[in-house]
């Protein structure tokens, strides 16, 4: 992996409206490797930075299917072949009774998949990240909004990008060391 001395250029904004507008204009200006940081989810921001493929639902669906299937098959195998017990004359394959555990296993696996799938796709936990090198970035979890253009962007040049972000009204523009 190429180690650039600079990770990207970051600009600070005051409001969610300013951040979304800036993200849109950065994208329109031809920058592709862009990200935005905000203290709460902002509708439309992910699209503005060019993010479309959200795979969390797919991961959840697969997890749920695996959970439900394995739950039912476990009960079926245990009750009919591994350890068949006659209980109250009920058939070994008592499907009405098996629905409950199947349902719970579906929910359990789907829920675990949703959470850990989300974390994995987000690359979390991540103890170190270059953006934390910017001192003002601590306000990204309070009331400030940040936009970064990564150095890996083909159109990136420290001076040009800085000028561009200034033209968007970004403040406290800084180069983020890697």
């Amino acid at each position: 992996m190429k180690r650039a001395p600079i990770y990207g250029t970051m600009a600070e904004f005051d409001s969610p409206t300013a951040l979304v507008a800036a993200a849109h204009r950065t994208h329109e200006a031809g920058y592709q490797k862009v990200d935005a940081y905000s203290p709460f989810p902002i509708e439309g921001l992910a699209e503005a930075v060019g993010f479309h493929k959200n795979r969390v639902p797919l991961v959840t669906l697969i997890g749920g299917l695996i959970g439900g299937l394995s739950g039912y098959l476990l009960q079926y195998w245990v009750s009919t072949s591994s350890y068949p017990v006659n209980v109250g004359g009920k058939p070994y394959h008592s499907w009405p009774a098996f629905i409950i555990v199947t349902f719970e296993m579906t929910i359990l696996f789907a829920g675990i998949s949703a959470v850990f799938g989300m974390l994995a796709l987000n690359g979390l936990p991540m103890p170190y990240h270059p953006v934390f090198n910017v001192p003002r970035f601590a306000f990204a979890t309070k009331d400030r909004f940040f936009l970064i253009v990564f150095a890996s962007d083909p159109k990136y040049s420290p001076a040009e990008t800085r000028r561009f972000l200034e033209s968007l009204g970004g403040r406290a523009i800084s180069e983020v060391p890697d």
Binding site: G89, A97, I99, I100
Partner: protein, 401 residues
């Protein structure tokens, strides 16, 4: 917007409603004539089919009243936009009151407790009936209770309609009276429909008891009503004014309600089944034995798949729920499933093997035709939206983006 408010004509139902109204009447009358002739020739089948048709259309009527009362309590554009559709369906309560009368002529044919006890072959059933027919399941008691249910439903419908009509003439009073009536109204509905379900359906098999049965019927009514409202809004959305009002968000909300009702129906039905299956008591499980054997089992399986599983999966899709055309198709299908569910509840009491008689089909169409005629007559008599009500703003404001 102010122009729309000033001009009442803009808010009336489109001409297509009148066309459907008259055609429904023709269909209803023709099929009613066939039913009456059939009723004299084959009275047993007629009354069974009549009870089925009656319960089916009563579901749309009362379910609409309930969704309307829920709307009055919670507010929300989804309910305001179909408010007058629900209201028109609710105002079929007087029609359903009149249509209840024929059932009274068929009591001994429908209900074993209304027949002379000496004719009973089953000794246990006879002993059981000796007790219960003295105190509860008597013809007089049946009529008196029905009169109470209808009195309550008619009163609720009357006031909700009267106040709604008053909102068309400014100045509009505040909406608080709707809320004051709707809270207790929902409680009254829950109890009356439960006891009606016991009287009219559960007591066909008087030895069978299920405490959740009232709720199973109740949730079916809500589902029927929501599906019917979706079908009507699909008809109206092709014309003004509904085409200006119906936003995808509202359809989305209707889809969520539909999904909720389907899930709750499945939840109640499954709970009843599992508890009775696990207990396996002779009084109870026989009800299911009839319905899971000799052809009826196939209907039961069909209900699991097409009353629950398939619509459930389809309705998980967000784009589907926002598309009124596709939603309308599913709603029509679900109305058919409601009919089939009631068939599966009622008919096996009379026929141990799977059977659909001429009456199950013809009488349902007859009652349905008359009901639809009355419904569209109601719909045409009032504007499709109480535009002076503050709640209407959410519907009248143009969709953004």
């Amino acid at each position: 917007m102010s122009a729309a408010r000033a001009n009442q004509l803009d808010t009336m139902a489109p001409p297509v409603a009148r066309i459907i109204q008259s055609r429904s009447l023709v269909i209803g009358l023709i099929f009613a004539a066939i039913s009456i002739i059939g009723g004299f020739l084959r009275p047993d089948e007629f009354f069974r089919g009549y009870l089925l048709a009656y319960m089916d259309w009563l579901g749309v009527t009362l379910g609409s009243m309930v969704i309307l009362m829920i709307r009055h309590l919670t507010g929300g554009g989804w309910g305001t936009v179909i408010r007058r559709i629900l209201g028109a369906a609710m105002r079929c309560v007087p029609l359903m009151t009149i249509l209840f009368v024929p059932i009274l002529f068929g009591l001994p044919r429908l209900y074993v407790w209304a027949r002379p006890l000496d004719s009973m072959a089953d000794k246990h059933l006879r002993e059981h009936l000796q007790e219960i027919t003295k105190s509860y399941l008597s013809v007089n008691g049946f009529i008196v209770r029905a009169a109470i249910y209808f009195a309550i439903w008619n009163l609720l419908s009357f006031f909700l309609t009267k106040w709604s009509r008053e909102q068309d003439q400014p100045p509009v009073r505040d909406n608080n009276r709707f809320k004051v009536l709707s809270g207790p109204g929902l409680i009254l509905y829950a109890f009356t429909v439960t006891f009606a379900a016991i009287d009219w359906v559960m007591s066909i098999d008087p030895s069978w008891i299920s405490t959740i049965y009232g709720l199973v019927i109740l949730i079916g009514q809500l589902l029927s009503a929501m599906c019917f409202a979706i079908v009507v809004e699909r008809i109206l959305v092709k014309y003004k004014p509904m085409s200006d009002w119906l936003k995808p968000e509202f359809v989305h909300d209707h889809g969520k309600w539909m999904l909720t009702f389907i899930m709750v129906w499945a939840y109640f039905s499954f709970s009843q089944w599992l508890i009775i299956w696990a207990g396996n008591l002779p009084d109870e499980i026989t009800w299911y034995m009839r319905r899971l054997n000799d052809g009826w089992g196939f209907v039961g399986l069909w209900l699991v798949v097409f009353h629950f599983a398939v619509p459930f999966v389809i309705l998980l899709s967000r784009p589907f729920k926002r598309d009124i055309n596709r939603m309308a198709w599913l709603a029509v299908w679900m109305l058919f499933m409601r009919y089939l569910d009631l068939l599966w509840n009622i008919e096996p009491n009379f026929s141990p093997t799977f059977a659909i008689t001429w009456a199950d089909v013809v009488v349902s169409i007859a009652v349905g035709g008359l009901w639809m005629w009355f419904f569209f007559r109601n719909l045409n008599s009032m504007p499709l939206l109480p535009v002076h009500d503050v709640d209407a703003n959410e519907v009248l404001e143009p969709a953004h983006g």
